[in-house]
Each structure stands twice: as C-alpha cells, then as structure tokens.
Symmetry: C2
Subunit: 429 residues, 2 copies
Amino acid sequence: MSAASEIPKDYTPQSTATLASYLANVPAVSAILGGDTSDWTVFEVGDGNLNLVFIVKGPKGGVAVKQALPYVRLVGESWPLPLSRAHYEHMALTEQARLVGRLVPAIHHYDENLALIVMELLEPHIIMRRGMIATTIYPKFADDISTFMAHTLYFTSDLALTADRKKAMIGAFSGNTALCKITEDLIFTDPYRVAELNRWTSPQLDPYAARWREDGDLKVAASRLKLKFLSSAEAMLHGDLHTGSVMLTPEDTRIIDPEFAFMGPMGFDVGAVLANLLINYFSHDGYEQQPGERDQYREQVLAMAETIWTQFHGKFLDLWRGNPTGDAYPVSLFQGSEGESRLEVERQAYMDRLWVDTVGFAAAKMIRRILGLAHNIDLEWIEDKERRAICEARILTLARDMMVNTANYPAVTDITAAARSIRAEMKSY
Amino acid sequence: MSAASEIPKDYTPQSTATLASYLANVPAVSAILGGDTSDWTVFEVGDGNLNLVFIVKGPKGGVAVKQALPYVRLVGESWPLPLSRAHYEHMALTEQARLVGRLVPAIHHYDENLALIVMELLEPHIIMRRGMIATTIYPKFADDISTFMAHTLYFTSDLALTADRKKAMIGAFSGNTALCKITEDLIFTDPYRVAELNRWTSPQLDPYAARWREDGDLKVAASRLKLKFLSSAEAMLHGDLHTGSVMLTPEDTRIIDPEFAFMGPMGFDVGAVLANLLINYFSHDGYEQQPGERDQYREQVLAMAETIWTQFHGKFLDLWRGNPTGDAYPVSLFQGSEGESRLEVERQAYMDRLWVDTVGFAAAKMIRRILGLAHNIDLEWIEDKERRAICEARILTLARDMMVNTANYPAVTDITAAARSIRAEMKSY
C-alpha cells in the first residue's frame, strides 16, 4: 500500500475466531504450528498502544501475529492511524534482519492487504521494561543493543551507502508520516505546551508542568531537536527504541516493533535507549521496601548505560574503519597514513557530534514520559504518588539540564554522575 | 517517469528539422508562435553542458524549448545521464512558479516522454555571468535573488510546511540521484583528489592542486559539507544557483535550469550565489587594460554580495515571522510577548547557523570552479594565463580560509573585507 493511508478493500481486523483459518492458508505458518486449526490456540495479547497482537500455538510450535488497526488502539477510532505502518515495519524488519538478524524476530509471513505480520514467537522472552522493574539483570543487553544500533545505523548511513541507495531509502520511508507525527507532537511539542493529551502526577508535579510551558530556553532546545528530527536523514532509525521495544532473556535479546522507522538522526535511537535506562534508574526509589536495597541494581543500570555508549562508540567506529563504502568521507580523499590519521581524528569528532545529539534526544525522551501522553510502567507502577513524584522530579531536573546545557555532559559518565548526584541531593519534588 | 532512468519508448531527441512539426501539435505553443510551421524558425542554441536548447520564433512570438539527452552533452554518450532530470526540473519550476512566479520563466508545455519543456522565451535577457564579465550593472538583482531564495527556501522548509507535506516533497525529489551525484563528485570530492576530470591553469596552479590533495583540514571540511549535502533535507534547493543560471536585463531577473533541484541544505543555494559573485570580483584583474579601471565595478560586486545576504536574511526572517505555518518551532510553544521575544532570539541564531553553512558551501563552489571539471567563463576568458592564475590563486586562498576557518567570517562583510585584502596583498600566485 506504499504511503497510502487508505484501507484496502479486503482488509479485515482479525480476531481469535478468524485468525486460525486465515493462517491455515499460509503454508509456511501452518508448517511451523503443526496439526490443523482444531489443534491451535489463539490468544490476543496486545498490551501496546497501537495494534492487535496474537499468539498462536500448535502441536509443533508457535508464532506471533501483529496486525495494524486503522486507528490507535489505546484511544479508539477517533484517532485514525494508517495501516501503512505495517508496510514500514515490515520494510524496517527486513532491513534489520539483513544487518543483525539474530537480534530481531524472524518474519514468517507478511500480508500487505491485512497489514499483518507473522513473526517468530519469542519464548520465554519478556519485555525488558518489566524485567528491569523486577531488577532482572541482563548481562548481554549492553553488548546486543550496541551491536544493533551500530549495525543498523552505520549501514544505512552515508558512511556505508552510496548516495543513490541512501536516497532510495529516504524515498521508501518518506511516506511514514503519520507515525513520525506522533513522535513530533508527543515528544517534541506537547510536553512544552498546554495539550489535552498531557498528563502527569498531579498535583505534585503541577509546578513542573507549568514551568516547562514557560521555559524559553527549554522550548528552544526542544524545537531545535524537533527540527533535526524533521530534516536530518542520517540513517534508518528504529524510531521507538525504548525498553518496551526489547524482548529478551538473560541470554537472548530481540528488538521488536520498528513501525516508527524512517530516515532520521541517529542520536534519536541512541538517546532513546539511554533515556529509558535513566528513567529506570530513578524509578527504583519508588519500589524499595528498605532504603538502599536496590542500590546494587541501580548502579548496574548506570554501568549498563555507560557500557552501551562506550560499546556503541567503539563498534560504530570499527564498522566505519572496516567498511568505508559510502559516499561520505570517501576513502580516496584519505589515503596513506597521514590521510588515515586525519580521518581518524574526524571520526572521533563525528562521534562527539553524535553524542551531543544523543544527550538532547535522551532528555526529550525522558521528559515526554513524565509530562506527555505516554508514560512508562517503571514510574506508573509506583503506587505512592509522593514517592513517584520525587522520582519524576529528579528525572525532569536531569533532563532539563541535559537539554539546555548539553555541553556540560561531554561524556556518558557526566550523565551518570549527574544522575547519582541529583538522586542523592534532591529529597523532595 | 518518476525516478526511473529508463528511456521511454517514444523518446526521440528533437532537431531543428523535427521540432516545428512537434510543436504544431501543441495548441498552447502554436498559439503563441502564430502562423504555421512554414513561418517558424528554429535555432539550436544550447551552450550548457547537459541538454538541447532550441529557440523557436513565429510571426506572433517565440518560445524556448529545453530537452534532456540521455547523456551529458558536453562529454557524450560515454557519460549517461537520466532523462528524469526533466521531470525534476519541471517539478521544481512548477513549485518555484507558485512561490515566486515573476522570477522564473513561464512553462507553456511539458512532455514527460520526450523529457522536453517549452518555456517562455526570455528576450532580451542574457546570462548574468556574461553581463558581469562585461561589467554590466544589475540594480535589481540583489533584491530579486534574495526574494527568490527567501521564498523558495522558506516555503519548502519545516518552518512553513507541515511534516507530511515536507516528507512528500522529500519523497518526490529523492529520485534525482544522478544530478545530485554530479554535485557530490565534482564539488565535494574531485577537487581534493587526483581525478581524471579535474583541470586547472597549469603549470601555474600545479602547487595549489597538489596542496589541496594533501590538506587534511580542508578535506575534512569539504567532507563535512558533503555529508550535510547528503543528509540535510532542509528545503527545496535550486541546486545549481550560479550566475549562469540567471537570465536577466537590468529591469527583469529570471532564474532558470533547476534540474539539480532536491531537498537539501539551504546554505548550498545561498553559498552558490555568493561564490559566483566573489569569483567575478576577482576575475576583473584579468580584463583590465589600465589597472584600476574596473575598481568601481569590483566594489559594486562586493556591495551586491553584501546586499544579497543582508536582504535574504531580512526577507527570510520576515517570512518566518509572518507565516509560521510549519511544524518546526510551532507557534503554540512561543505565545505571548515573552515567547515571541525568545523565539526572535532563536530566529537570529537560526540565521547564524545558516550563515555558517553558506560560508562553507560558497567556499566549496569557488574551489570547484578552479580545480575541478567545470570552470566559469569569468576566469576562462582571461587570455593571459599568468594573470588568470593570479586571480584564481586569490580565490583559492580566500576559499580555503572560508572553508577551514569559517568562524573567522561571522558576517558577510568579513568575507568582502578579506576579498579586498587578499586582492591587495597577493601579487603572485
């Protein structure tokens, strides 16, 4: 359906009653399930905001089925959302599979007219955010997510692609406007103005919400980030890379749900990961029965954030050194040891600029989860509103400074140090 | 033909023998010409590098006909170039006509299969570059070109467009890869490496060409500009906005030939204009019979460069203040007098960033005309190679400093002052 937002004539939303007979006509899927429809169980499990998600199990195996609805599931038909997002998700998944296949679910079947993707059933994986609330340790995550980001961002950038292939990708994703607009509105705009969809822990954070709407420096900084999001086609982004888009076990990591994918600024993906770890770091004060009982996990979360950036930095640069196949910084300009050493200095400078973007986008992602529409269960599940408000106020305090005084955070350790110190010093909201 | 580079089945290059009978079947055109084919005269006048250009005159009036060839005319069939460039030129002309109709030629007819555009015949307009070599004064040019740039760039940017319309334009132009690649190679890459197509005034400038290939800081700066060209989709660019793309009289200005149009960084267009004025400024030393006889014109050229930036700056900001209809810097964030005054500070900062881009791109455009494939007649027509080399060496000296030490040129007067001082002090190449 390309970029069109129309509903195909033969589109029908699936249900637990209809899905099995549909899948029976898809040989690749019925072979995985084994037996026939009478042996299959179908559950609707979607806990996301946008789509239908089913798990289907048969005697031999299971699959996950994701189908787009022509509206936002969370809100209903009053908020239409084009089915074409399944097209973009499928396109992004296909590209990610090519680049880092072991880190995304395998695709078994795609039906463009039904806006429906049948994928590998990930078991016993859980959503990372839930695991982190329960202080589960994921020793492989830093390595895996840094690989995912380094490969998907590097290989879809001008550093790896020729300009014609890069422009073809820009064209291919340019129709995913409705999903981009959700980001543009909910992340870069609404938290900084009166907006019907905003919500926050009230009345505790009312003064923050009010200050945010009056804070000129902050609004300018958020608007600069929005402009970058609108106009910098650096690489194919996942576009929604928070801990709710990760399913994993301590041994295996999978990145799901790239329906927000488009060609945008790399720092947006990297910042999303760091933001969600920082949110989780601050959230544990809402859960501790005894002060300090989660200290060790907290520190592991910060260490994970540091490792992710450090490893991403190293892996991205290694890919650049080993695969300089793009039209940017052409190899032919930097021959010989002198050329190579000058280019290496520039590679570091390139990463420094990417870091600046990352800090800003991370801050925007932190703020939107506290003052905007969509919140994180890391914070939402804290029952005591007073405690929750303190956690959230700390996050807002760090995020505002990251966004407005980005130059004060030249290294990832500057952020983690600031997080520790804000947590230690801010005793009330 | 969208982005496809195929040759349509019914494509045939026109000639002075065939064109009249083709146009006879186009009522809009034959009405302009009057009479019938036996009354019409057809001349082939293309002096550009890429296309066929005809002038057709009849008893009532005349038209200009531009047809793309499936290769680069200057080089021949060994350098294929897709006919789709006519599609992009037509699309850009149409958009420019909507925005600044009086500054572009009217389109009478477009034939996608023939890659052929019939346009208003511009008489007695001449190519601006020729006029400037002959020290013709164009009192309206600064006003007109600043209006052209302010309107075409502002109204196709995120400041004026909603994100969905902007992304649609990005998609629509994303196929113009072959023309973009000419820029990418010839402007940002070849002058900084050994490339078969490079040429320069030799042996006089041999040491410059050699130094350029070894200058790490310069190559990094050029590569950063190239990366910006590849990845910053800020607005619809003309893409080739030099004084050879301007036809004018002292009273009337028209911008032609937007076949390089795509969604790119605004500073590339603005820089192109300034670069070509600076080249012209330095060229007059190659023509003077008596030293100083062109002093007055020289100063007028620099004054024109200053006025263009100053007026562009003012007009762009006025459009922003008056038409804040885009998704970037949304009006709703900057309400009230405090919001407006904070936004005004940011508008100035935005223009400062655009200026930095402009200085860099101007420098790249100056260098490519001296060390790359395509040269300007401003310099080429200087018969004495020694004198030409001095002019060119001065341009290279200024351009290198603009590109590497951009921060030393915070205002357009810093560039014009440097131009004066380099001309006064550099007595040999």
